[in-house]
């Protein structure tokens, strides 16, 4: 694209933070809320998380049961498809690997659909949520995860755009094929890698 007349940009390409994927800007202290649904009034006591589909042992965890899993945290950056990124955040919870190990994925499982207590869905290859790449989290910074950011608990898959990190996570269904979720049916890219700018279908 030819330059836009008169536009110089605030962040110069030369001193651009290397943590910033293409097309993103640093939201600094801000943390925009972007969800299309009403924030559910979901308490910890009501929250459950289920892993089913192509697993040997479908399993549902309550809040207390999930908290018996080994504590695990993510410290790093997050990226939203609406163009903001946020550096050096901390989320605390448990690794998704711990949940999956208990349910036992079958060899034919290749994809997952993550779904929320609101009915929101998003699809991911199984390989994107295993091997220490995804968490179920209930802490942000030192405190509980705020409701509008998915509290009491959400999925986080920080190496992908944040619409993959389903808020108010209710479960994961393992499949042997890909099943597009809410935004993916709505024109978004199926994978959502911020470093390749996989924003919309066709990118």
């Amino acid at each position: 694209m030819e330059p836009t007349r008169g536009f110089t940009g605030r962040a110069r390409a030369a001193d651009r933070d290397p943590r910033l994927p293409p097309g993103q800007y640093d939201a600094a202290d801000g943390w925009p809320v972007l969800s299309a649904e009403v924030t559910p009034s979901l308490t910890a006591a009501d929250w459950t998380f289920r892993v089913d589909g192509l697993v040997t042992t479908p399993h549902t965890w309550t809040w207390d049961e999930a908290h018996t899993l080994p504590a695990s945290e993510y410290r790093g950056d997050i990226h939203c498809v609406t163009s903001w990124s946020k550096f050096g955040v901390r989320f605390g919870g448990a690794s998704l690997d711990a949940f999956l190990a208990a349910a036992g994925p079958r060899p034919e499982a290749t994809h997952v659909v993550a779904y929320s207590h609101t009915g929101y869905t998003t699809n991911l290859p199984l390989s994107d949520v295993t091997g220490g790449k995804a968490w179920i989290v209930w802490e942000y910074g030192d405190g509980p995860l705020p409701p509008e950011h998915g509290g009491p608990a959400r999925l986080i898959v920080p190496h992908l755009y944040f619409w993959k990190s389903a808020k108010w996570i209710a479960g994961l269904r393992l499949l042997d094929h890909e099943e597009p979720g809410f935004w993916e049916q709505n024109g978004y890219h199926h994978r959502g890698n911020p470093w390749r700018e996989e924003r919309y279908s066709g990118d």
Binding site: M1, E2, P3, T4, R5, G6, F7, T8, G9, R10, A11, R12, A13, A14, R16, P22, G23, Y25, G30, P32, V33, L34, S35, A36, E37, V38, T39, P40, R50, D52, G53, P58, T82, S83, W84, Y115, S116, H117, T118, G119, Y120, T121, E148, A170, G171, R173, F182, Q185, N186, G187, Y200, S201, G202, D203
Partner: protein, 248 residues
Amino acid sequence: MAGTFVPPTRFAVPGRIAVSNRAASEWQRATVVDVRRDNTAGTVSTFRLKVPGWQGHLPGQHLMLRLTAPDGYVAQRHYSIASPPEEGGEIELTLDHVPGGEVSGHLHTVARVGDVVEVRGPLSGFFAWPGDRPALLLGAGSGVVPLMSMLRHWRGAGCPVPLRLLVSARTREDLIYADEYGDETTVVLTRTQGRLSAEHLAPFLGPAQPEGGWEAYICGSNGFAEHASRLLVAGGQPVDRIRIERFG
């Protein structure tokens, strides 16, 4: 599959709305053909763009706008489409001038008629309203933009279903599109009247609802979206018939 979870709501793109994925992935040249002020405070302007390849949109959809610096640096932001679908290859965006804002600042202070920017879209069918169901619209600040596209479409196409708009602004000077509202609109000026309240909504919820109930659309800051959605739910509006667009 035994014990398959069924989500409590059918939270999805309404089946009657088709979204094109192709348009969403292509950047298109858009020429600024008109700029005008949209509130008396002078903080909000509308940019009319000519987009030769525009494939059309539904009221409520947004697009992505991109600016490019000489060294290749790009900045892109989402903007709701303010104009109704009836205007062919021209669309309008209405932007708040965010102090220090990179993109809105450029458009308000540097951009002029004849400039070229890039857009891709329309995006997201979730917040769209094709004009076929009763619509209850709640907006604050620039959140009224996609709702104005719906109102203009409702008037222009003569949609046979009821539409009601509640728009909240700090003062009359801040109010966007002040001259365009009619009987369908309730204006709430928060500095003098306080926040949008259950009382403002009461005439529309409960027994006074149109047949089949409302499809509710809320747009604005996250704070407004949280407040307005709680009022609607408390007033009996089904949670799966509330669509929210948060500007961040």
